[in-house]
Point group: C2
Chain length 230, copies 2
């Protein structure tokens, strides 16, 4: 079985864990001497040994550093409109598995929601952290509070999913620069919004002739990215 | 607003709806004279007019037939291992949006579940029907009861997601023949299972270096298909 991965503040010769992570180790029935992995959510990952395990605290001793091998050649940002209910948690979880380095929430003209509470944002960040462990990434994607679409700036290539487009993501994808994929709310992006993005250099791409739910479109775009092997 | 889509047994000059669909029309506050669409789940779709609306029954009158424009060039099958809880419903819903014509459930060596109850299978079929309406498809994917992996036969190309593969779906995809994408359970397919599939002509493809959950992998593969514009 692959070693359990523990998120730590920073890689250090001795790392003290708090109650939450310690409880996890107890649940997994780990014992002093067992091997684990540690990662800092910024790309650093290493082997480690559990050297102390008590009620409420544990100590890990650093082992060999590992390359951050699970990252895309350039950082991938998912820019996604606010969605209702728990849909964003599902999107963030899958986007983390699919290699996103950052999730930027957006407020768009048609909006399922116009803001997000601090608690909900915190929950999305926890979801990203959990998912990065489970998918064996050393990087936890940032989840950034919502910006109005017009204020969202990107570097590199931005792909926006737009029904009726003929351009294909796979034809325009290159890894010379960061990649952003952008998807709208349940009601879709307004035509003027897509036009404003393409005027700023975005590429409007197809996801086929069907209507996708707002929570499916980001995964389809990210799925197309990872299917190229990155 | 796009007209409401109603699933009917078969397209006919006059179509009588039962209580469930009729309740829907009431909820949508439709009135006699309103335009709807009808589809039979087999690829036929047409305009229709609501000509009678009572408590528990409604009559639609057939209008012009529409081309089944939302289908892939060749049928796509998703072959997916049985998964725990409600995960299969999420997979079937998204697979329907992403154009799958059929979902074949599989029993694999590592299995989250070895069988599925009749009620649960029925529920998956309802999910497929609902999702095909919402995604404006004229075809409802079949959901087929589980087969042992070794007994699963396919036509055309089969892609199996396999961590560590270097082959890419987009490099091997052509639409001369039906396409199947196959994904395993939470614990993954056994190496011998993948080897048996590739010995039978399957192409093992990459989804990048991260570990995907069993319910994310099918969507990534189908996302890669639809991002090619089909």
């Amino acid at each position: 079985m692959a070693p359990h991965r523990v998120r730590v503040e920073a890689l250090a010769p001795e790392m003290l864990l708090g109650p939450r992570e310690t409880r996890h180790l107890h649940v997994l029935r780990l014992n002093p001497g067992d091997a684990v992995r540690v990662f800092d959510g910024q790309g650093a990952e290493a082997g480690a040994t559990l050297t102390l395990l008590e009620e409420g605290r544990a100590v890990l001793t650093l082992g060999e550093r590992l390359a951050g091998a699970a990252e895309t050649p350039q950082p991938v940002t998912l820019a996604v409109a606010l969605l209702k209910g728990d849909k964003l948690a599902d999107v963030v979880r899958a986007a983390t598995e699919l290699g996103a380095a950052r999730v930027q929430l957006l407020v768009t003209r048609h909006a399922d929601a116009r803001e997000i509470g601090a608690q909900k944002l915190q929950r999305l960040r926890r979801v990203a952290e959990e998912a990065s462990k489970q998918s064996r990434r050393a990087v936890t994607p940032e989840v950034l509070p919502p910006l109005p679409l017009a204020e969202f700036a990107w570097e590199g290539t931005l792909f926006v999913a737009q029904p009726g487009s003929v351009a294909r993501l796979t034809d325009h994808l290159n890894w010379d620069a960061p990649v952003t994929v952008l998807t709208g709310p349940e009601g879709g992006l307004a035509e003027a919004e897509v036009a404003a993005l393409t005027a700023r250099g975005a590429v409007a791409v197809t996801l086929g002739p069907r209507i996708l739910r707002a929570e499916t479109a980001p995964l389809a775009l990210l799925g197309a990215l990872v299917a190229t092997g990155v």
